[in-house]
Symmetry: C2
């Protein structure tokens, strides 16, 4: 874990250090012992006071990533980074597969509305066409992984909200509505700092990073059936593209 922390930059040292330790845990740097190095060791390593390291570890403890035990050390509680394959057959549930014991898809909100320019362009509809909007959060083993807003052509998928709520899966909801198969046509990936809405939806701490995908699915004839903007907790996932 090379590289020093930066002073007087608007980002507190304890937060920079927390981010670095979280990353190191995720990368398996402390797998041998299952614990973080002692506070004094980290303090020397980062060139800061022990209290600054303590602030960083307190933040990680708050996230449930580590647990400090007096006299023993700071144990690593959770260390996950789900791999999310992106391909023609991209599906959330089968993609996560055996990486989590349990996956859930929760419907937070839904509605029927008129497609704005962005949605219309992706779904290849005329602006103003009626679309169904779904707000969902997907969890793996109880931890939120992503929150998504999806749009579907209303004429074809009016029953989407009900179908999703009962099946907790886009794939199965499509099947219920008569679409047995679909294809991931395009995926756009960007990254940004978490916004207020992300913090609660994904149980993040401020300053965290979200990976944002904008994706379009089509049926087997190439007709768009879904456009989604999905926000992932960046320290819990990685994407893999296999060609």
């Amino acid at each position: 874990m090379a590289g020093q922390v930066q002073r007087q930059t608007g980002v507190a040292l304890w937060r920079q250090i927390a981010d670095r330790i979280r990353q190191a845990i995720s990368a398996g740097a402390y797998d041998e012992t299952g614990m973080v190095p002692p506070e004094m060791t980290l303090a020397v390593q980062f060139g800061v006071n022990r209290h600054t390291v303590r602030s960083a570890l307190a933040a990680l403890a708050q996230e449930g990533i580590v647990r400090a035990v007096q006299g023993r050390g700071t144990l690593i509680e959770r260390k996950e980074r789900l791999n999310f394959p992106i391909s023609k057959r991209t599906r959330f549930n089968s993609g996560i597969g055996e990486q989590a014991r349990e996956t859930r898809g929760l419907l937070l909100d839904h509605g029927e509305e008129q497609a704005n320019d962005e949605v219309a362009r992706w779904l290849k509809l005329a602006p103003g066409t009626k679309v169904i909007r779904l707000e969902t959060v997907r969890k793996a083993d109880g931890r939120p992984v992503s929150s998504a807003t999806s749009w579907f052509p209303a004429a074809r998928f009016a029953g989407m909200p009900d179908a999703y709520e009962t099946t907790e899966s886009i794939t199965r909801a499509f099947a219920e509505l008569g679409l047995s198969d679909y294809i991931r046509a395009t995926t756009e990936i960007t990254a940004a700092h978490a916004e207020a809405a992300d913090l609660s939806a994904l149980e993040l701490t401020p300053g965290a990073i979200v990976l944002i995908t904008k994706a379009m699915n089509t049926d087997l004839d190439g007709v768009p059936v879904q456009y989604s903007v999905t926000r992932f907790a960046a320290d819990r996932v990685q994407f893999t593209i296999e060609n």
Copy 2:
């Protein structure tokens, strides 16, 4: 640009606001006027004092993204987000294509070394096999877009450093060394906060986000020819996967 800023989180308000304005510029939110809204408007929007907005704009001016003119307002100087397609035929230069007037690839450092476990696994070599390492920075219109560390099997591509330095392109360097075509086999994408090395290499400010790809290219027979870890300035690029 919805969502309030977060207080007492280890990230200064002025930095959060700078990040949000940078993002908004990148997304084209102020394209109509070519300027950022007045400081008081932004102050009300974010729910902070005008001085705090001024700190944020000063940081953006330092980056060369905006320029404040007394009596007129704060003009937008630069606004780019390069699209980077990822496919079987992923190549940096043709991928950027007409999005930039000029692209360059600079060789910072190189060497011959023994493959560590990670490199060996991706290149499907025995650990310890000799490999060529290249440290490069790629620029579009003078702005650094990505910094990469690449490894090549030394037995096959010993001339890589020289070939890259003269051609400034992996594709053309491969061609010089007798490999006329290659395929992007796998790409892994994650995101993290910029480290000290990123700040200088990519001309970033602390707290910025980097998108990290780990990618493997093969020849037409499926034999690995290159493994690269590339770090992109997240607010200057987006990835697109077309299936």
